[in-house]
Symmetry: C2
Subunit: 260 residues, 2 copies
C-alpha cells in the first residue's frame, strides 16, 4: 500500500530554501510511489491565533475556554473549516513532516498556531487518548528544520542554545498526540555561516544539503525513532516510577552532553 505523506510548510517566501525543501520532499516521495499532500500554511493564509471568533457554536457563550470549545465543536461537527481540513490531512497521513526555519528557538508562529488549533481537544487528543494511546499512534512524524547559524554554533556547546534541546518541546508535543517521532532533519548554516560572503560556495553548500535530504527521505526507515518513556514507566499520578529505566533516553543523552 502506498505511503500517505503530509508536508506542513511554514515559510513566508516560496522561493526560500524551506520552500525548496518542501518541493524536494514532495518530488522525492511521489517518485517513491507515495501519495503527497502539502499544507503550505502561508499560502493557505492559516490564522495562527486560537480565538473565539473561529467558533460558530459555543458550549459556553460567556467565557471562552479553548479546550471546552474545541471538544464541544468537535463533537458537534462544527470545528472551523480550516482546522477540519488540517485534521483530516493529519488523520489521512501515515507520515507527517513539519518543514520550518527555527525562529527565536522555536516554531514560526504560524506553525505553533497550527499546533494550537489543529491538535484540538477531543479530535487529536483527550486525557486518555494521548502518548502510546494517542490518536496518531502508528503514524510517524519528523521535523525538518533549518537554522541560520552553522552546525557547531547549534551544538550542545554552541551559543545558539543547543538545537536538539530546543526541539524537545516540539518533539514532546508530537509524542503527546501519539506519533512515533523520527530524529529530526537539521540543516544548519542556511544563511551563509560556512561560506562567508561567497555566494557560489554557499549555493554549492545548499545544493549538497538538498542531495543529502533526498537520500534521507528516500530511506525514511533508516532514520531512528526518538525513544520516549513507555506507558508502564509512569505511575497513576503521571510521575516516573522509582524504578523506571530512564526519563526519555533522547533527553538523557542531551543532558549528558550538557554535563560533559
Amino acid at each position: 500500500m502506498e505511503m500517505k505523506v503530509l508536508i506542513v510548510l511554514a515559510h513566508p517566501e516560496p522561493q526560500s530554501f524551506n520552500g525548496s525543501l518542501a518541493r524536494l520532499a514532495e518530488e522525492t516521495f511521489v517518485t517513491g510511489g507515495a501519495e503527497v499532500r502539502i499544507s503550505d500554511l502561508y499560502s493557505r493564509q492559516f490564522e495562527p491565533d486560537e480565538h473565539a471568533r473561529h467558533f460558530s457554536q459555543r458550549k459556553n457563550p460567556i467565557r471562552f475556554d479553548v479546550q471546552t470549545e474545541q471538544r464541544f465543536n468537535h463533537h458537534q461537527g462544527t470545528l472551523p473549516v480550516d482546522v477540519t481540513r488540517e485534521i483530516d490531512d493529519v488523520l489521512w497521513a501515515d507520515f507527517v513532516m513539519l518543514q520550518f526555519p527555527l525562529w527565536w528557538f522555536g516554531l514560526p508562529a504560524i506553525l505553533k498556531g497550527w499546533m494550537d488549533r489543529v491538535f484540538a481537544y477531543g479530535a487529536l487528543y483527550t486525557g486518555s487518548h494521548c502518548f502510546q494511546a494517542g490518536v496518531c499512534r502508528g503514524k510517524r512524524a519528523m521535523l525538518s528544520v533549518t537554522t541560520g547559524s552553522p552546525a557547531e554554533v547549534c551544538a550542545h556547546n554552541g551559543q545558539e542554545g543547543d538545537t536538539q534541546l530546543i526541539l524537545w518541546p516540539i518533539h514532546y508535543a508530537l509524542h503527546y498526540v501519539g506519533f512515533s517521532v523520527l530524529e529530526p532533519s537539521l540543516i544548519t548554516g542556511v544563511r551563509g555561516g560556512y561560506a562567508g560572503n561567497d555566494a557560489a560556495i554557499q549555493d554549492r553548500y545548499l545544493d549538497t544539503r538538498l542531495l543529502e535530504q533526498r537520500l534521507r527521505l528516500t530511506n525514511l526507515d533508516s532514520i531512528p525513532v526518538i525513544p520516549f518513556n513507555a506507558e508502564s514507566d509512569w505511575n497513576d499520578r503521571r510521575k516516573l516510577k522509582p524504578r523506571a529505566p530512564v526519563y526519555s533516553p533522547f533527553i538523557r543523552h542531551q543532558a549528558k552532553l550538557l554535563l560533559s
Copy 2:
C-alpha cells in the same frame, strides 16, 4: 525613579485566570509606585505571522527575507505600526513580564508571533548586539506561566515533559536580546488538577496562588536571575571554550535532575 513595567498578555479570554494574573500584576506594580503598560495581544488583535504584507517598503521586492526586511525597514523608520508600538514599549520598560498559559509545551502562537515580529533584526538585536551586549541589557524579564496539570506532573520526573526544561528556548530568546531573565513564576494545576471536580476547592487554590503572586511581584528583587554563560566563556567561533566553567548553570541543573 519609578519602575516602568510592561505586561504582555496572551490569552483569548479576559475573564481567564491569566487575565486575572495580568490585572493583579498591574494593580500590584501600580500600588508599588511603578508605571505600567499592558500589551494585551488578543485585544490588540496582534497578527502573529511574520509576512511580506506587513512591510510597505521592501529592500528586495522579489524575494521576502525576514531579517533583510526587518533591518531595512527599521533603518528606514518604516517598520509596521503595530510592531513599532510594541518595540517602543519594550525599549521603554525596565521590566517585561510575559503572561501566558503553556500551550503545546510552548508559547501561544500569538505570543510566539510577538517575538518573531517585535524582536526585529536591527531594532532589538544584530549579530553584534546580542546577549550581554544586547539591546535589552539592563532590563529584566520574567515569564509568568500557567499550566493545566498539577506541579508533580510538570516536574522533571513528570509526564508533562519537564516544564522548566520546556521554558529553556523561551528564556534563551530573552537572554539573546540582552534581558536579565528572572526565574519564572510557574502556577500549575489551573485546570483543577488538585481539586478534582470540587469548584470551591479549586477557587480557593487559585485565590491562594493569586496571593502568592502578589507577594512575588512585590519582591521582584528577591527573585533569582537565571544564570547564563558570560561572553568570555565563548570562543570567536561561538563555541564554549574548553575551560569555560559550565554550559548555563540553569540548564545544567535541569540536566542533573533528568539524570538523577
